[in-house]
Amino acid sequence: MEYVSEQESRDYLLVMRDIDKEFPGVKALNKAKLYVQKGSVHALMGENGAGKSTLMKCLFGVYAKDSGEILFEGKSVNYTCPKDALDHGISMVHQELNQVLQRNVMENIWLGRFPTKMGFVDEQKMYDETKKIFDDLNIGVDPREKIDDLSVSQRQMIEIAKAVSYNAKIIVFDEPTSSLTEKEVSHLFAIIENLRSRGVGMVYISHKMEEIKRISDEITVMRDGSWVYTGKASEMEMDQIISLMVGRSMSSRFPEKTNRPSDNVVLKVERLTGMYKPTITEASFELREGEILGIAGLVGSRRTELVETIFGLRKRESGRIVYKGKEVSINDPIEAISNRFALLTEERRQNGIFGDLSIRFNATISHLNDYCKLSFINEKKMVSDTQWVIDAMAVKTPNDRTAISNLSGGNQQKVIIGRWLLNEPEILMMDEPTRGIDVGAKYEIYKLMNELASKGKSILFVSSEMPELIGVADRILVMSNGRVAGILNRDEFDQEEIMRFAARYLG
Amino acid sequence: GCGGSSGGTEQPAAKGGETQATEAQPQKTEAAEAGDQKIGVLIFNYANDYISYVRKGLEAAAQTAGVEYLTVDGANDQAKQTEQVDTMIQKKVDGLCVALVESTAAETIIEKCRTADLPVVFVNKKPTAEVLNTYDKCWYVGCATQQPGEFQAEMILEDWKADPTMDKNGDGKIQYVIIKGENGHENAEARIVGIHKVLEESGIEVEELDCQVAGWDASKAKDIMDTWLSKYGDDIEVILSNNDAMALGAIESLKAAGYFEGDKQIAVYGINAIQTGLEALEQGYLRGTIMTDMISEGTTTFQVMKNALDGVDCQTDIAYPYEAESKFFYIDTVKIRMDNIDTAWAMYQ
């Protein structure tokens, strides 16, 4: 179904139509299309694996499309590599942070287009220009600093600054805010406003509904690699978008809370302090049976460090962990797992998945003991357990022998959650479990958390998305600069209150 | 090829090869016709120049005699060479000429040859007489291993007596250094034993300043010589190298330090009489070298094999001495100086 006639399509800055792209075993794009106007923000929405990133990568020359047509400013184009696209006025903020950690900020900004003087790279110019861009965009980072020494959010801001600095006619933002603080998000939006007024066309991919409502002019929804709908943002309701994305109607973003936390304290963390400074300092809290304890805080507030330290991934200098009334020694994940702790890590690619290995391997690796008879492995049980994960988590995959890297981010995440559920954890720590995951999958994860808690399991739920914390948690612990700034009960939940706590130990 | 065409004057083995061609006729009834004979030649390492000449001599002689041959490289790996014996046997060769990687591997190889009933002639690396005597169809051909060292030392003593300027510090003692080929290499070890033996028996006072291993390699020898020059300087009066290649490396170092100009001279001795070595001799850098007659070593090896194939006495047409108890054929080595350098050049004709 066409919503734009051939005639009209000439007026668009960018037209992508009938784009097909097949990966081994996956039809990632199936006659996908996207029309972007000058001076507008076009939101691209869809579930995990819907093909949003792939579509943009086909535009940007990272992938070669199998068929279809791309018109840019009315001319048919086909970029074969990112350089091509950049040279023609298309830039992109990538979903993954693509930076050279060993080098400094300005080298990363100018990579691929270093300014030269008489054949040599002009360091001074590079510095000055970077400074200018940062001043314009209000980014307080020294251009000579090494990327590795920066926080994730600073790095993401640098990526954004870089994409903007190309003075491109089209800028693609693929989940640019996944690790930005509220403040930085507003900052980004200011930048986008400015770009819009200068006639730049933008594609904005995000799973955060609030952002989409705030910033976009038009919305295109994709499902299973195909175009589903395009319309004016102002005319679309949130629920409508969601049901378009998932292909059925969804009444609410959060499931009804069914768990009843008991008064039993299962986990007591006392004055936990990490080994390598800067780190968490004297963090104390209690977690009850059947409770979902949300953990809020700004990026860099060391929420990740808190859960990783509890899990034994990081060394602690002092502090006690009391589990079910007894102090437990947890110096590494092995001890944590044997105490029925589980940790869903924040960086999926880095320390979550085994990319080249099968789904079966990924689902079963953390509890091999369950499959061992006299230290030999019982393959049958592995197969059936993996099938349980695929079914229970609704993982989209041809079979359990597929390499996990062939799945979309969301489906990978489901496998990893399934892995931990197979461990039947008593304490489940989830670090940004819904990051980069579509609404449908998010809802399922919330439901799952609810169910687990109802069965008396306890959950630590780290998130940067305030609405989901408020929607799902029983209490919220707020971290600030490595310290526990406060803990709020469900009836005290309030965004501003949380933000106030989050800023408590800053500076 | 060199070996065959060099004719009958100086090289007994080559002469043998020629005679053999005519003599092969009457043997016909007893053994396979020459044209049907096939031998395997196993070389311990193609990259070794010494054995390359042996191979050249051997192959040329085989060609002249019309015997088919198959040559393989052991790449300095005994396990590999032992496997190659199997391959050769599968290829149905009639006999094997083996330049061993490790002399002690002879036992295993003889065992294989015994099973296949093949004659085997070892060349260059020497198995013990004990081992050779366990099988009637095996022999050894090689240069005397200690002799080059002995000859080197003898040359020094001769020069020392003739040329008083060699005693640079005038203390009547020979201060020398040795550049060693390789630790544990039987040629290197034997050559050094030979040197020590002759020097000790000479009655002249000697002092070995240093002895280092350069792996038969010119550039390593050069680096070592650099070090010695800075450490001992003019104290060094004589340089003994286990082969010419290393001697040439040392000479480069000496040249850079200003030697061989005017009366800043020094005595360097090599072994092998390779072509570049002979040239250095002509140019006055080398005082002497020892001709280890590789070509004859090769032709003789072939001749012994041929005799076995033809079923005649093993010494037929061989002019070199044979030690029956140990089954060794010895190829004499020759001291080479300017005055008899043509003998050495002739080897390469």
Partner: protein, 340 residues
């Protein structure tokens, strides 16, 4: 129309990729047979299998380390060390060249055990340096290689002033060179040992926790740590296994050759790595199968044997082997490349 066409082309490409190594093998064998049809005797096959035995045992050890994401340049020198140890302690009592003249006749397993123990120790240290200190495996194994070579060469040098050690105890020779006869077929013990080692390693890789952990560590060490895999312990087990295999391979190599020097094994590491990688073990870690390793090793052995059989000059052999490595690995790599 067009669609089916591209599909069959794709399928063809896929088949070529998946069976590349077999195709190459077929071509090589084809060429060899064309030059000398007598290559197709059963005897040749038996020799090739026998010759491949120690290499296979060695490669099985190296492969585990590669799957862990490492590499082992020291493997060959370890084999050399084990060979020299066994050789020096297992000479025939009556031999005049015996280095330990007054030592009683030892049971053959004792020196072999000692050789294995030494290899295990060095592999253990290597594993610690890589897994605990996180030193890049290439350079760690290079360092180990030089240390091992230096140390056992000093021992070797001290023994017989560095001349090769031979004249072994008959039991030792028989252990490595013997065979039993199954009707008309001669089955060498050494091939049996190789088969046993292969089966054991296959079981370890595929049916035990040790193997799963190995793939996990090689596939993504950080994720493995989160999943409760003890990286250091899990790696060390594999290094120790490698040490055992090296030690055994070295003992067999000495026995099979009938002599040993410190030069033994000089190129074995690179050959073994090449065989593994040609057999599909990925240098990036986390990928590899026993079947592939066996194929890789036998393929190289066929090439070695076949090229000699048809009388190709040794330098040409280098060029051919190098090209085959490049072609086979280039094709194999394409399998894992993310399509653009």
């Amino acid at each position: 129309m067009k669609n089916t066409n591209t599909l069959s082309k794709d399928r063809l490409k896929k088949i070529v990729m998946n069976y590349a190594i077999y195709l190459i093998l077929l071509i090589v064998v084809g060429v060899i047979v064309a030059v000398d049809p007598s290559f197709l005797q059963i005897g040749n096959l038996s020799y090739i299998c026998t010759q491949a035995s120690t290499r296979l045992i060695l490669s099985l050890g190296v492969a585990g380390i590669i799957v862990l994401g490492g590499t082992d340049l020291a493997a060959g020198r370890m084999v050399g060390m084990a060979a020299v140890i066994c050789a020096s302690l297992l000479q025939a009592v009556e031999s005049s060249t015996r280095v330990y003249q007054n030592m009683p006749r030892l049971p053959i397993f004792l020196p072999m055990l000692l050789a294995v123990a030494l290899c295990v120790i060095f592999c253990f240290v290597h594993g610690l340096i890589v897994a605990k200190l996180k030193v890049a495996p290439f350079i760690a194994s290079l360092g180990i290689q030089q240390v091992v070579y230096g140390l056992f060469s000093i021992y070797f040098q001290g023994l017989a002033n560095g001349s090769p050690i031979g004249s072994f105890d008959k039991r030792f020779t028989n252990f490595a060179q013997g065979a039993f006869h199954l009707g008309p077929v001669r089955i060498p013990y050494i091939a049996i040992y190789a088969v046993i080692c292969t089966v054991i390693v296959w079981v370890i890789w595929n049916k035990t926790k040790i193997g799963k952990n190995m793939f996990a560590i090689g596939g993504n060490p950080e994720a493995a740590a989160v999943c409760g895999v003890n990286i250091v312990k899990g790696s060390l087990v594999i290094y120790i296994l490698a040490g055992i295999l090296y030690g055994f391979a070295g003992a067999l190599e000495a026995g099979r050759t009938g002599s040993a020097t410190n030069a033994l094994g000089a190129d074995y590491a690179l050959d073994a790595i090449a065989a593994c990688v040609v057999g599909g073990v990925s240098m990036r870690g986390g990928i590899g199968t026993i079947k592939g390793i066996v194929t890789g090793v036998i393929m190289f052995q066929i090439i070695n044997y076949g090229l000699i059989f048809i009388g190709v000059s040794p330098y040409v052999q280098y060029a051919v082997k190098g090209s085959i490595i490049l072609i086979a690995v280039a094709i194999d790599t394409q399998k894992y490349l993310k399509k653009k």
